[in-house]
C-alpha cells in the first residue's frame, strides 16, 4: 500500500513554484505517476523521504506541442501518446516517435510523460537516446529562476539528475534539423510489447557526397545512463562512407561502452550484439 501522503493540485505554475519553494525536500512532483506510484506501492527507498505529492498532470501550460522559430517545443506534461499522435514529431523527429511508441503499453503511454521519463533517469528510459541525438534542451523553472540546460548535461547518474529539489522542468525544445539527416532508433527487450529495454541505441547521420558531415550516437540501456559518444562522432566526421568505416565505428563503439560500464557478466553476450546492431543500423541508414 502507498504510505499516507499529502496530495496537492496547484492551480497554475506560479502556485506550483511557490509550493515547491516552501517545502522543497519533502515534495515530489507527480505527472503521469507511472514510475512514482508503483515505486511507492512497492516501498522503493528513493520515494520514502517525500511527504507531499504535487500533481502537475492537469496544468494546460505544460501540455503544448508546437513549433516556434524552427524549434519543436514539448511541454513537460505531454504524454507519450500525445507525442506519437503529433504530426510535428512524426515529421521532424521520427526517432522520438518510434521510441515513444515502444514505451510500455497503451495504458502506460496514455499517462507517462516525456519529461518524467528523463527526470526519473532510469538507464532504460526509451526517449532518452533520441532526445540526446536531437540535442534536446530542457527548460528548468524555480520560484526565483529560469534557465535552459542541454539534456546531456542534466543527466547525472541512474535515477538522478542535476535538478535541485525546488526546480521543475516546464518544457523540452528540439531544434528542427535539415532534411538531409537520416537516423534510426533501436530497442531490444525480452519481448516485443511492454518490455524494459535491454539495449537501446539512437543514431543520426548527415551525409553529403558520400562523406559523413555529422553523426550523432546515443546509447540508452547499454550504459549506466543515456549518453552521447563525442570522441567516436569526431572520429567519424568528414570520413568517406564505406563498409570498412562502419565496421570500425561498430568496433570502437563496443570499446567505448566497455570503458564506461566495465566488464559485466553480460558483456560476452551484449557487446557483440551491440556492435552488430550498430553496424546494421549504420548500414541501413546509409544504403
Amino acid at each position: 500500500m502507498i504510505p499516507s501522503i499529502d496530495f496537492i493540485q496547484p492551480k497554475n505554475i506560479e502556485e506550483l513554484l511557490s509550493l515547491l519553494n516552501n517545502f522543497p525536500d519533502e515534495s515530489c512532483i507527480i505527472a503521469g505517476g507511472t514510475d512514482i506510484i508503483p515505486g511507492m506501492q512497492q516501498g522503493a527507498s528513493r520515494f520514502k523521504k517525500f511527504k507531499r505529492l504535487i500533481d502537475i498532470h492537469h496544468l494546460p501550460e505544460l501540455k503544448l506541442i508546437k513549433v516556434e522559430d524552427g524549434v519543436l517545443i514539448i511541454g513537460a506534461g505531454v504524454t507519450f501518446s500525445d507525442i506519437i499522435k503529433s504530426s510535428l514529431t512524426q515529421n521532424h523527429f521520427p526517432l522520438l516517435t518510434k521510441a515513444a511508441s515502444s514505451v510500455g503499453s497503451v495504458q502506460i503511454r496514455n499517462r507517462a510523460t516525456i519529461a518524467g521519463n528523463f527526470i526519473n533517469n532510469a538507464p532504460c528510459a526509451d526517449s532518452v537516446p533520441p532526445l540526446l541525438v536531437y540535442e534536446a534542451m530542457v527548460r528548468i523553472h524555480s520560484f526565483n529562476n529560469q534557465y535552459d540546460i542541454a539534456l546531456k548535461d542534466l543527466l547525472l547518474k541512474p535515477y538522478q539528475t542535476k535538478m535541485e529539489p525546488n526546480e521543475i522542468v516546464t518544457q523540452i525544445s528540439l531544434p528542427i534539423l535539415s532534411e538531409t539527416y537520416r537516423g534510426e532508433f533501436y530497442k531490444l527487450g525480452r519481448r516485443q510489447g511492454v518490455a524494459i529495454s535491454r539495449i537501446s541505441i539512437a543514431v543520426l547521420i548527415d551525409i553529403h557526397q558520400s562523406r559523413i558531415m555529422d553523426i550523432r550516437i546515443a546509447s540508452g540501456a547499454i550504459t549506466p545512463i543515456g549518453k552521447r559518444f563525442p570522441e567516436l562522432e569526431k572520429f567519424a566526421r568528414q570520413k568517406k562512407l564505406e563498409i570498412k568505416l562502419l565496421k570500425e565505428l561498430a568496433r570502437k563503439l563496443g570499446k567505448e561502452i566497455l570503458i564506461t560500464t566495465g566488464l559485466r557478466w553480460s558483456t560476452p553476450y551484449k557487446l557483440p550484439v551491440v556492435q552488430q546492431i550498430f553496424f546494421q543500423l549504420l548500414s541501413n541508414i546509409t544504403k
Partner: protein
C-alpha cells in the same frame, strides 16, 4: 491520515467521493464504491487487469491516485452494459471462448473498447498492440483477438 474529496463521472453518473489521498483509482472503485469488476493483478502497471477508461483512454487504475481523477470521466467494465444487456464485445468474448478464468477479462474488454472507439476497423497488429498491456494466462490471445475482430466486423455492418 489525509483525505481528499473528488467529483468525477463514473459510468455516466456524476459522483462525489471523499477518500484517502493514498488511495489509487483502483482502491476507490473496489473499496469505496464496491465495483469489483476491476481487478488488481500486479499493482505496478504491467498486467493490465485493472484497466479502465479515463476520458475515453485506456489507463491502469493502479497507477492513478485519487486526487488525479477530479472532473474526469471514468468507465469501468460495469459501465459497458446497457439497459441490462451486455455489450456486443462482451457477447463475443463469450461466443468465441475468449474467457476462461476471467481475471483479465474486464481489463481486456476496456482496452478493446477504447481501441474500437478510436479505430472501428483495426488490423490484427493494431489489436495486438492495443492489448499488449493486458496479460492473459489462460485462453491465450488468439480467441481474444478473434472476439475483438468479430466485434469490429459486426459493428461496421
Amino acid at each position: 491520515m489525509s483525505h481528499v474529496t473528488i467529483n468525477f463521472m463514473l459510468n455516466g453518473e456524476n459522483i462525489t467521493v471523499t477518500t484517502r489521498t493514498n488511495y489509487r483509482l483502483l482502491d476507490i472503485l473496489r473499496e469505496d464504491l464496491g465495483l469489483t469488476g476491476t481487478k488488481e493483478g500486479c499493482g505496478i502497471g504491467e498486467c493490465g487487469s485493472c484497466t479502465v477508461l479515463l476520458n475515453g483512454r485506456a489507463v491502469n487504475s493502479c497507477l492513478i491516485l485519487a486526487g488525479q481523477i477530479e472532473s474526469a470521466s471514468i468507465t469501468t467494465v460495469e459501465g459497458l452494459e446497457n439497459e441490462g444487456k451486455i455489450h456486443l464485445l462482451q457477447q463475443n468474448f463469450l461466443k468465441y471462448g475468449a474467457i476462461q478464468c476471467g481475471f483479465c477479462t474486464p481489463g481486456m474488454l476496456l482496452s478493446a473498447y477504447a481501441l474500437l472507439n478510436e479505430n472501428p476497423n483495426p488490423t490484427e497488429s493494431g489489436i495486438k498492440e492495443a492489448i499488449a498491456g493486458n496479460l492473459c494466462r489462460c485462453t491465450g490471445y488468439k480467441q481474444i483477438i478473434e472476439a475483438i475482430q468479430k466485434t469490429a466486423e459486426e459493428m461496421n455492418l
